[in-house]
């Protein structure tokens, strides 16, 4: 037996999973409140005691951890054109597991500088211009940043021609600058790996200390990453497989939370037909999007406003004022989970479905038809996910849903949005115990065991 611990320091709960990597099997799971304000070890030790009690194991050979505690990894992205380098920068940060609080484009103004000071990001990703392209706006933005009152690690991943000058200027003004390859070296080419790796490195070197996680660093094996990063690793492994152990193929993960809904896809997303022309920025194989206005608690109000309060009132068969009242109640008391059937429970269920439908629609690409003198031509923007046959759901509002399968069906193509490239004919799975993050961590050194456990533990619904 070779027992290993995977720890997930969440914003609310510290979740600990004990795994025997030899068999492989999951030995025990436990969770306890995250104690970020005192000493993060308290919460962790409480969970660990439960594990020891159940398994009788005192010593764990290895310990891995991921964290979204203390607000996660807060980033802002700066680019030039919103649809191009600003979008590329945002994608790079998201795929490194960050929480992107704001994306800025063109020349920064005083108001935006103040806004960044208020946000106090952990890392700034600063881009703009393809290689050999724009220098004027990028240089102006660097000048602006020298006047800012907030300092944090900054990654420059813009036009390479001026990279050294930008870094020198910012360093003169006490900025801690790292240089990555341009996130968009040529037009519409997405090149996020270099920036992504730097973000992970900075997270480990600096952010962990700043977030009060350094005390646990001593007792883990120096692998600490943002939780979404661990989920992406798990998703990639499950999709692609490991050596002779096949994966399940292209997949999508929808994580419905109280504040946001995250969608991850591991899929090529290329056009399926010959008369389709791709448009816009290239799409990454592994893509993560986060919708800040689609959550079942803190952002419930925005979610209801998004679809229209009347629509929700219609479904619940109550007047809009009642919906408003219930919404306020849930926003103010986010900790409650409805177990009993009733109006509140129905609202909870409806919110989860809306979150899934909207977030997947935004994540997936779409087609536009053009009638040309040569016949019909289709333009595709974003990823074609119509052949993604595995959809995995997770997150409190979904796990507690009264009909999980029907909620997950909201991720599917429907005729009301005929040009959307959402998945169709998918099989649905539930990650009830947040095993994806734990297995992502495990996969770094034990991919075979992690893959087998993922396949065994994701429940088809």
């Amino acid at each position: 037996m070779k027992p290993v611990l995977c720890i997930d320091f969440g914003s609310t709960f510290t979740k600990v999973t004990a795994i025997d990597v030899d068999t492989p099997s999951i030995l025990a799971r436990a969770q306890s409140f995250t104690t970020i304000h005192d000493d993060i070890n308290f919460g962790f030790n409480r969970a660990l005691e439960q594990i020891i009690k159940v398994t009788g194991i005192q010593e764990f050979n290895e310990r891995y951890a991921c964290s979204s505690a203390a607000g996660g990894l807060k980033m802002i992205a700066i680019g030039l054109v919103p649809q191009l380098t600003a979008e590329a920068a945002k994608r790079a940060a998201l795929s490194a597991g960050a929480k992107v609080l704001e994306t800025f484009s063109f020349e920064l103004n005083e108001y935006e500088i103040k806004k960044i000071e208020r946000i106090k990001p952990d890392i700034i990703l600063f881009t703009g211009g393809i290689d050999g392209g724009n220098t004027k706006v990028v240089t102006a933005n660097a000048q602006r940043l020298t006047t800012m009152n907030h300092r944090c690690p900054l990654i420059y991943a813009g036009n390479k021609v001026i990279a050294d000058d930008i870094a020198a200027l910012l360093r003169e003004h006490r900025w801690d600058v790292s240089i990555a390859s341009n996130v968009m070296p040529t037009l519409n080419e997405l090149n996020i790996h270099s920036a992504q790796n730097l973000i992970r490195k900075i997270f480990l070197d600096h952010i962990v200390v700043a977030k009060g996680l350094s005390t646990v660093q001593a007792c883990i094996d120096n692998i600490l990453m943002p939780t979404p990063s661990a989920v992406l690793l798990g998703a990639e492994l499950l999709s692609k497989g490991y050596l002779s152990n096949p994966g399940i193929g292209e997949l999508m993960i929808v994580d419905v939370g109280g504040a946001t809904t995250d969608v991850h896809s591991v899929a090529d997303g290329a056009p399926r037909q010959s008369n389709v022309i791709m448009k816009g920025l290239a799409e990454p194989l592994i893509k993560r999007t986060v919708e800040g206005d689609l959550g079942a608690r803190y952002s419930l109000d925005a979610l209801i406003q998004g679809v229209g309060i009347d629509v929700v009132a219609d479904v619940l068969k109550v007047p809009p004022e009642v919906v408003k009242q219930m919404c306020d109640d849930l926003t103010n008391h986010p900790e409650q989970f409805m177990e009993e059937p009733g109006l509140m429970k129905t609202l909870d269920d409806v919110a989860a479905e809306i979150a899934i439908r909207e977030s997947v629609t935004r994540h997936a690409g779409f087609l536009e038809v053009h009638y040309t003198p040569f016949g019909t031509v289709y333009q595709q923007t974003g990823k074609d996910l119509s052949m993604v046959h595995h959809v995995i759901g997770t997150g409190g509002p979904l796990i507690h849903h009264s009909n999980i399968k029907s909620a997950l069906k909201a991720s599917q193509y429907d005729l009301k949005q005929p040009m959307s490239l959402k998945p169709s004919n998918s099989r649905f799975y539930l990650d009830q115990n947040y095993i994806l993050a734990a297995m992502g961590l495990l996969s770094i050194n034990y991919p075979k065991a992690a893959l087998q456990l993922l396949k065994e533990n994701l429940k088809e619904v």
């Binding site: 030039l80 054109v81 649809q83 191009l84 380098t85 703009g128 211009g129 393809i130 050999g132 392209g133 724009n134 220098t135 004027k136 706006v137 968009m184 040529t186 037009l187 022309i277 448009k279 053009h370 009638y371 040309t372 003198p373 040569f374 031509v377 333009q379």
Partner: protein, 138 residues
């Protein structure tokens, strides 16, 4: 010479790809850094690409007769986007039917284009003009 960047593309719902490839080759050979957007390019895409790439000229092609409609307002949008000095070149079968080229030329000059080329133009004419307009020594 220092690399000068141009943005190249076929505007509107036009899918004529062959001329686009020829122009890409010719301008690259002449020493330009070509950002080629390919076919079915909107005005917005031309502008976004020009901003990111720091381009000094847009070379717009239109072969299917809807050129006038597709090109309308491009100069105004460039001005709005801070690309006041960018050179706008256009060429191809710009209008439907047998309108005399001089009329077509006047129309596009009035729309803010700097150079207009009839069907079957030699790419070298455009390259020579561009070098002159950008003050590049040959």
């Amino acid at each position: 010479m220092d690399q000068h960047t141009i943005v190249l593309g076929v505007i509107g719902a036009d899918v004529h790809a062959v001329g686009n490839k020829i122009l890409h080759y010719a301008y690259s050979q002449a020493g330009f850094h070509v950002v080629n957007l390919g076919v079915m390019v909107s005005q917005e895409e031309f502008i976004q690409a020009a901003i990111e790439s720091g381009a000094e000229a847009m070379i717009v092609s239109s072969l299917y007769g809807h050129g006038e409609l597709d090109c309308k307002g491009l100069r105004e949008k460039c001005i709005e986007a801070g690309l006041e000095t960018i050179k706008l070149y256009v060429g191809g079968n710009l209008v439907v039917g047998k309108t005399p080229f001089e009329e077509v030329k006047d129309k596009f000059l009035a729309m803010g284009f700097d150079r207009i080329y009839p069907p079957g133009s030699d790419p070298n004419d455009g390259i020579r003009d561009l070098m002159q307009d950008l003050g590049i020594d040959i």
